[in-house]
Symmetry: D2
């Protein structure tokens, strides 16, 4: 109801502010008996953590997971699985100046409008730090999806105007982490990194696009009306800070085309019903059809920049702001594990929900 939970069966609730004691997550509904691979979870945390490379913010958080409950003898128990991350490298002083000044395109004004006041330290609950808890939960979801054979990969396909235009099927997705920017095409990655480095120097920021692919998803996942699989994926993606767009399969391009071009003919192949093309992006009528699910997620440029900006105070007085907090010049390299995590949360939830569909 208050929007801090996600999923129906595999249900995740996050808590915590950027500069509070800790952030964390409770997963309720993870089935008993799952091998709990803490190393895998920590790896995903490390892919998201700040301070991991020259391309990211200077805030430095080890983001070491502490498991509080729900695991016994190396397996999940079916009871709530709680994980905690202490906040360490807080510099609240950086933010004191912003107590009464609304940062443009941040959530300062809207939080005040909604709640009457806010924890202004580092953006409080609106900080992308909250997504660390999602990555932890999403990693558990990925462990669960291993049981279904599902593989999820996400990578950077655009940074500002630099786009990776090859279809994902022509890329080597095992090499995503070979570049700091997490683009699996080396030449494009180099360009992207150069642009980010340049913008960091200029005190500006830049947007980007992440492409995600979920393969070996069983047919039958997704509820057919409001909880269509693509609808839940869209919500999951738009719930990530700074995301402004989502398209699945042929996406916006399909809007410009004809049915005779964009329908996916069926055929029998490899012992099961397959489609010859995959304009649908692996989902038809809201339900997975066994083909790859792929989609693109658009991120706006980070709102925090080191340039003077016009704004107002919480008393409505005009003022000028120069941001002093640490920030990423481009969010997409660190957002890759977040997109993967949110994808996993949707698929794990629907994989469990499939158990309920028929007698």
């Amino acid at each position: 109801m208050a929007g801090n939970s996600f999923g129906e069966v595999f249900r995740v609730t996050t808590f915590g502010e950027s500069h509070g004691e800790a952030i964390g997550v409770v997963i309720d509904g993870c089935p008993a008996g799952l091998d709990f691979d803490l190393d895998f979870i920590q790896q995903q945390m490390d892919r998201r953590r700040p301070g991991q490379s020259a391309l990211t913010t200077d805030r430095n958080e080890a983001d070491q997971i502490e498991v509080l409950s729900g695991v016994f003898d190396g397996k999940t128990t079916g009871t709530p699985l709680a994980m905690l991350l202490r906040n360490a490298d807080q510099r609240s002083a950086d933010y004191e100046a912003m107590k009464s000044v609304y940062r443009p395109s941040h959530a300062d004004f809207t939080y005040d409008a909604r709640y009457g006041f806010r924890d202004y330290r580092g953006g409080g609950r609106s900080s992308a730090r909250e997504t660390a808890a999602r990555v932890a939960a999403g990693a558990v979801a990925q462990l669960l999806l291993r049981q279904a054979g599902v593989q999820i990969q996400a990578f950077v396909s655009a940074v500002g105007p630099i786009q990776l235009n090859k279809p994902y099927t022509e890329l080597d997705l095992t090499g995503i982490d070979d570049s700091l920017v997490r683009c699996p095409d080396a030449a494009t990655a180099t360009q992207m990194e150069a642009l980010i480095t340049q913008l960091k120097a200029e005190g500006d920021s830049v947007g980007g696009v992440i492409t995600a692919v979920a393969s070996k998803v069983p047919a039958g996942l997704g509820d057919p009306v409001f909880d269509k699989l693509e609808a839940d994926l869209a919500k999951a993606m738009l719930s990530i800070n700074a995301v402004k767009g989502f398209e699945i399969g042929s996406g916006f391009a399909a809007a410009a085309g004809r049915g005779s071009q964009f329908n996916d003919a069926f055929e029998q192949r490899e012992g099961r019903v397959r489609t010859q093309s995959n304009h649908s992006g692996g989902i038809q009528g809201g339900i997975s059809n066994g083909e790859d699910i792929y989609f693109r997620v658009a991120f706006k440029p980070v709102a925090t920049i080191s340039k003077n900006q016009q704004t107002v105070t919480n008393r409505g007085e005009a003022t000028e702001l120069q941001a002093k907090g640490r920030h990423d010049p481009c969010v997409v390299p660190r957002a890759v594990p977040i997109v993967a995590a949110m994808t996993a949360l949707v698929l794990a939830d629907h994989w469990l929900r499939l158990r309920l569909a028929k007698l």
Copy 2:
């Protein structure tokens, strides 16, 4: 849990198959005391109903609303509001042939994969006929939003390659229904209608884009983490049949740009905090900021075409399909009230949820 309900407080559950007895909707959570304007609701039904013009399917449904409960003395009572639409112009015979043949890019195969069998008559539950129930519920939501002063408008901004490129602020949105295609620019509308007419003659179909604008939305709507306002809007839109993409505010274009270009500077204007530009699309940190909320929704071409298509049967045998059911060559003109309805469901729900945010 089974995905036929939408909304947390203003909660809508639809039921019914395309060729069953009836379709309908139950709204639970509409506050007591709202003036129930049945005429307005019926008008929205009429905008969606099949057979309304030469551009749409020949199926003819009067779609006359029957109110079963929840209204007394012209006002909502706070108890469940149930509305029923009898199915009238069913021609199940048209669909008998499709009992065992999977129509490409329809939900036939995926429903079988999920449920083991399906009501194959006219697509059953996967038919866009289900959206009639959403329009009825959405009209009630619009009545509720009138109390908040909110106005919702949706219009066709692209049909296939024909695009309306003017910003919505330069259009006269009172003229949306002046053209059959529901595009508020007369010259573009004429082109769109010509293309749809041509494709109908060719037995093909075409995609399109709908733009929606919600104005006078109070600041403070939206829960800040998973139930961000734009996340719920994205889910609402992707839950509509044939939708493949969503972008809000500057959307995918923002991914290509810089923070210094896309931030919305604050200023004091008209006695309240306003932004100078509106790249954010009226939402910041998941919460409305009082500016116009605007977004674009991409629809793929209708999957039903009158051309031969390769497919398989439910026993995996190759076969060729020529669709015989009635269908729209382009879904977007009739989808305009559906987009408006789903927008209203999201905003009405969050408008009520705002009552819970602070002491």
Copy 3:
């Protein structure tokens, strides 16, 4: 949220007022492939319907079920199952006088307090007529539970001071419907019927107790903390009009005793772990243990009586009320199928939820 739905997976939403067009129910989450036995459902309706015998109200409703959706070729489809009951024998004129007078121990005053006004005809939504929709839904739940082997029986174990004190294990529960009062002990039934007949003549009413037994429930049903199986049963029972108490297993008697008396020793029997006694009532730690689940439900006397009563109007003026509406002198004979239905809703929901507990 607004309290008209019940169950998490097998989710039931009822709608309709006593004297409106119709009442009905939507079940969302019934798995596909269940044989839909409409005759069984109608039988349960007949057991609850008014006018069935001299012991009940004179209101006469055929309560013929109309199935609107969710069933195809005699099986559930996994999509929402909607059932409708038209109201027929309404006499709103009976109630016109009560428009502004609060009937003692009815919901008239509290509905006004909550909603500002109410549909006063026949109690509107607060009428026990709403439970007809529950019986229809509960009958579907019972069809589902047949797949699990579960049997549910409910019977009248007290009417006013007349109590059936034999343990249920000594009764022939196949004979519940042999008496109009639905007490399986013939001698006690005769006494109960005589008392009800006498009170009807006196214009008074009387309370009673219903005992329910669910046997062959698999071990493992129930979530261990808030959604304990007995907790959900308690809620289900207290949600029935006029219910004031609930006790499971040894109930209030256990509060007076010692652990050494009330613990249920385990033994291996019939190839599985069994308890020697069943003070627990078939549930331990919130989870079924495979023994009979049994509990007692206390109903207060019907509030509608044909005696003068002191009360106030909705303007706070003192007045005297003589009820004129038709009513039951004792609610428990007709409440037997309601208790069974609510029991079935809880067990069906948790039977499905068990599918989610482990890998």
Copy 4:
């Protein structure tokens, strides 16, 4: 869905096992702006904590609350409020013997039946230790209810056969904590304490009854069908470990009586509509009427006793058990704050939900 959350708007999720790292709770949906009185919360914890007196278990936990999120500048922020309790005085060795032996009338067998295995240390998640998290959350709910003027009091009204038979209106409820047993009648308290002391010496246990009273509850709380206020209270109470019965207002006694005796006549008094008697227990038609809400809760004797008991192992072999874990001879003195906490959770949730009932 997995049953570790409670409430719709004021939504509480608990986590943690008896002998794991920690237990805790996340409250999602507490409105922003509430004064956060940590001292009051800690006081409630102290009333529940083990080792507080000679009448309770010897396990000694300080149960010091750590607030992780959701509070800033002494006020709730509207974001998730997480509280943590580290487990300190664990003696897992005590329980090693019970790894494979099912303790009678505990949840060992049923957890294995549901999940396939369990954290057996000290009962794991089925331990009453989980209720510490509820008391913390319930204390926050009580802070919220102060805003509504609501007062909640709970006290011990029976220990085994020793009953306090005076109506609560004749008791001085400010003196509940004057006795270790939390019975506000000094003479009865002395008897109760003597009995508990005797049973502790004998290695046996005893049941009891707690009576709760919520006064100054505004009229209008409760949803009228499934989420009747008494239904949610019943669920809340039956979700507490060892509870076997619940009755509200005149309860089971009403089942034996007549309408002419048990109806509550209305009158105008103190400027508002009041009832002359209160058989209803403050709730009519599922909605509060402004009178005192009072109910009784039956607790069975604690299952852990220091006597030899017959049982089986998890391989079905007969064995004899002598419990060695620390335990309370009678649970009700420590359960008083738990009953109060669960009452507060229900009322706080419905107090917020009332905001949604009308325009």
